[in-house]
């Protein structure tokens, strides 16, 4: 016996409409299949509702990114079905060219990874034509390919976005939160998205940095497993325009990686220099001919003026000591006497 036929997204006669979501007027129609006959129907990958939020995110990078960044970028692309890719930017190009690229690609948000010195990674997040835009330093990247993150989720399923309450406390964080929401939230009924919510993007603030995590929802009671990727964003600046314009915010805690490395280097050199100097000093001390102490400074410390005593000479022979003990028998004798 063959198993019952499965149909995806079949809604009876409205089956064809599934693909042409634009024509569905009733936006409240959910992916609730009518159980027609004995056919087992599952929710359609493309839902019946109308895709209204036409958010698109351009994710691309500059030339000279390392493999880890490339992997991270690909992971973000798999996680965000509303993303688009583009060829790598030349490093020489001015940043505002990106705005034009976004326009060409029909995107209104942009994540641009900029690699510098083959070791530092910066990420630009921008609302394309009008701004604002943010520049981050990206640290501690872990990609999906790592084996320690054991979760898995559907490709293109919509994420929940979880924010730290700190995001509401300060204006720049509030702005960032809105930007994050618009960038990372997959639009409802996006054609490439899945009709399930099975993972959470977590944005938390610790140590003045934004920590990104992605968890899979396993059980309904809140059991989670990390899927990845994970990275840490350190805010550098917030600009009013997209890739330019006046600065709205500058992170006072930010220290450029170059500066950080320089400080480390300086600390080591200072340590070394100090050691060298000490060594030299010791050498000099050793070679310096020692002054012979001709005069003892402490020689006359005990030369106290005392009373001179007359010299007494004993002329008589020393006589018997009157206090001499009385003769006593030897031990052997004593023992025998006691026996």
């Amino acid at each position: 016996m063959s198993p019952p036929k499965r149909k995806r997204g079949s809604n009876g006669p409205a089956g064809k409409k599934a693909k042409q979501a634009k024509f569905v007027d009733n936006e409240d129609v959910e992916a609730v299949p009518t159980t027609a006959q004995e056919e087992i129907t599952v929710p359609a990958p493309v839902s019946m509702g109308k895709w209204k939020n036409k958010e698109r995110v351009l994710i691309f990078s500059s030339r000279g990114v390392n493999f880890r960044t490339r992997h991270l970028m690909n992971d973000l692309r798999t996680m965000m079905p509303h993303s688009k890719a583009d060829t790598k930017m030349d490093r020489k190009d001015k940043l505002f060219v990106i705005n034009e690229v976004c326009e060409i690609k029909n995107c209104n948000k942009c994540l641009y990874f900029e690699a510098k010195k083959k070791q530092d990674l910066y990420m630009w997040m921008s609302n394309s034509p009008h701004g604002p835009s943010v520049k981050f330093l990206v640290q501690n990247i872990h990609t999906l390919a790592e084996l320690k993150m054991t979760g898995n989720c559907l490709k293109g399923s919509r994420p929940l976005l979880s924010f730290d309450p700190t995001f509401d406390k300060e204006p720049h964080f509030a702005l960032l939160k809105e930007l994050f929401i618009q960038t990372f939230a997959t639009p409802h009924y996006h054609p490439k998205s899945q009709p399930f919510v099975d993972h959470v993007f977590t944005f938390s603030i610790a140590d003045n940095r934004i920590w990104f995590r992605n968890y899979q929802i396993i059980e309904e009671d809140g059991a989670l497993v990390e899927v990845g990727p994970r990275f840490v964003l350190n805010i550098i600046k917030i600009f009013q325009g997209s890739f330019g314009g006046p600065t709205l915010y500058e992170n006072p805690h930010f220290q450029s990686p170059n500066m950080h490395r320089r400080e480390l280097r300086q600390a080591t050199t200072a340590k070394l220099r100090e050691k060298q100097m000490l060594k030299e000093l010791q050498k000099m001390k050793r070679t310096e001919n020692k002054e012979v102490a001709t005069k003892d400074v402490t020689a006359d410390v005990f030369a106290t003026p005392g009373v001179e005593k007359p010299v007494h000479i004993q002329e008589e022979e020393p006589g018997q000591d009157p206090k001499k003990r009385k003769p006593k028998p030897f031990k052997r004798r004593r023992m025998q006497m006691s026996r």
């Binding site: 499965r6 959910e30 087992i40 599952v42 929710p43 990958p45 209204k52 798999t78 609302n127 009008h130 604002p132 999906l144 084996l147 898995n152 559907l154 490709k155 994420p159 929940l160 979880s162 924010f163 730290d164 309450p165 204006p171 509030a174 702005l175 939160k177 809105e178 930007l179 929401i181 618009q182 939230a185 409802h188 899945q194 009709p195 399930f196 919510v197 099975d198 959470v200 977590t202 938390s204 610790a206 140590d207 940095r209 920590w211 968890y215 929802i217 809140g222 989670l224 990390e226 899927v227 006046p246 600065t247 709205l248 915010y249 500058e250 006072p252 052997r332 023992m335 025998q336 026996r339």
Partner: protein, 304 residues
Amino acid sequence: MEDDTQLGTESEEEDSDLSDGELQEAFAKGLLKPGMNVLTSKSRTCVNNVDGMKQCLAELSKTLPWVERLDLTNLPAEDIIARAEGKHPAPGGSVNAEDDFQREMFFYRQAQATVLEALPRLKKLNISTKRPEDYFAEMAKSDQQMQKIRKKLISKQAILEKSEKAKKLREQRKFGKKVQVEVIQKRQKEKKAMMNAVKKYQKGMTDKLDFLDGDQKAPAAANQKNPKADMAKRGPNAKRKSKDDRFGFGGKKSGKKWNTKESHNDVSGFRSKVAHGKGGKKGNKGKQNKRPGKSVRKKMKSRS
């Protein structure tokens, strides 16, 4: 006052545009204060345009229903582990970013709180969080990758199990040695008791042959009831007794071997024939060595 000006001039030595006179003037006006010239990390004047940001946010924000955004802002869920351990987490949701475990736990709990809050809302909106069993779609991680992860997990578990087993074995070996030694000792003891009993029987001290039966334990136990009392009744053995006679037992030890007047005067043991080595020769002659010398013996051996 002197000191203060001194301090000021000292730290300002680098940029020597200011002359001492100017500094003194400044000090007189009260512009210079002690502690003003402490070296600090140069403070950048960071831009923080709050109004601009607020305006920007107002422009940026869209009026979209929650379904489109799926965002939630919440404190982390209650830390069950910390509560069980009796620790009180820092209020205000701050974490030590250096402590990896604590930090990750914080993020996890935040995600958990979000999930717990979002699930009812999603249910209300008729969005499911679980796909049906027969819903197949491409996953974020490929099957190959998941297989790799599984393999790694399994190998990790195997390693853990192996180490645990080895630990157990090591402990067992240690304990086993002790047991073995005990068993051997016990066997030896039993054998000794048996031999003793046999000897006793041979000497005719007992007529009973019950030690040959299986229960050697009972007589041994009976013997061990009061061995000390037995010994006391019997008194010391003959060898001990003779030794005691010869060397003495108990009492004062020192001065025993010394001569006394009586012993000195006692000449009963004196024999003039033997005295002063005279008797030696005679004695030697008397009991001459019957055994011939080595060479002679050899000769004799070769002859025969």
